[in-house]
Symmetry: C2
Subunit: 205 residues, 2 copies
């Protein structure tokens, strides 16, 4: 059975995005700094069409590689898709089917390199079922954004939550856990630490 996991960057004060997040500024003011650790990593740069050889290969890079390798399909919220659609390279970094939660029906959009966006209008459970089917025995990754991760946590649809805890404070913005049911049970089962970021993986439920 596929594991459903979410892999989420937050600040030490709990923000997934800075203040003033909106279309065109999806991570909010200062929000890029949450993900600074990933931008220099070879595995991530290679997927973005940047010169991978120029990136760093460290413990975080191995974790990013592992997440790419285990993922057979993605589930994504519509706002994250709308932003990404404007900015992802061609081929997009997913190289797997991506199931986009939306209210607007749309034909599948086939991109180069193995990424096809499918648009799902009947909710996260249906999207996860389709993603599981498409994943071919691999795992399903919930890409985000914040609202999608929250909805899936509250609905008991997430098996594993990995937090990439950046050692920065933003002071305001969008919090990952605002609106998450406090009765969600989390058990840490792996920590990978570097001077740039602390990766903590939790089993959920």
């Amino acid at each position: 059975m596929s594991t459903v996991f979410a892999s989420v960057g937050t600040t030490l004060d709990g923000f997934m995005a800075g203040p003033n997040a909106r279309p065109g500024n999806p991570l909010g003011d200062g929000g890029l700094t949450i993900h600074r650790w990933v931008f220099e990593i070879d595995a991530w740069r290679e997927r973005q069409g940047l010169p991978g050889g120029s990136g760093e290969h460290n413990a975080s890079a191995e974790l990013v590689e592992e997440n790419f390798a285990r993922t057979g399909a993605y589930v994504m919220g519509r706002r994250m898709f709308a932003e990404g659609e404007l900015g992802w390279p061609d081929p997009p970094p997913f190289r797997a089917p991506v199931f986009v939660l939306t209210h607007a029906p749309r034909e599948p959009w086939v991109r180069q390199g193995g990424t096809t966006f499918h648009f799902v209008t009947d909710g996260p459970e249906a999207a996860l079922a389709a993603a599981r089917e498409a994943a071919g025995g691999k795992d399903v990754q919930i890409s985000g954004g914040a609202e999608t991760v929250r909805t899936c946590l509250n609905a008991g649809l997430v098996d594993e939550l990995e937090i990439h805890l950046a050692p920065i404070l933003l002071g305001s913005g969008t919090r990952l856990f605002d609106g998450v049911d406090p009765s969600v049970r989390l058990t840490p089962d792996r920590t990978v630490a570097t001077p740039q970021v602390t990766h903590i993986r939790y089993r959920v439920g």
Copy 2:
């Protein structure tokens, strides 16, 4: 030169205390769960006058022992003192001088086992200077509460912040980082992980 460090328990959603914190309920509703990991640890139980032998000795226990051993003096906020005064065992767990930030002058209060409470009315810098002097080359620990840790972080008085990140959500309460200047620089330099808690130590500044 002594290192000034704070050692603070928070929930995964960033709370040092639950909602409705007040005299008599200093950790707020559900706040005791933030510190659940420590209650079964031999080193902590021994300091509380509980049967230490009955406690667990794990990676967290070694960290608690290390913190006791390195601390030559403590600085504490007046609310934490007022609560603790009612509940600490005799001898109290500090076994070292404790400098209490207060507005009310009071004679030093000598307790058994090496703990003497000194009352400092001229602010955190004066309290830290006195604690450094008293620490005899050992380190100074800022005990809390939240407001004292925040004040000292914002004043650039903390060298090291250790967070004991409990894998729980409270949803509301007192946040450690509310009101901390986002320009405070933090660099993780040690992580100790157990299934009950993730200890992350940050160098500050």
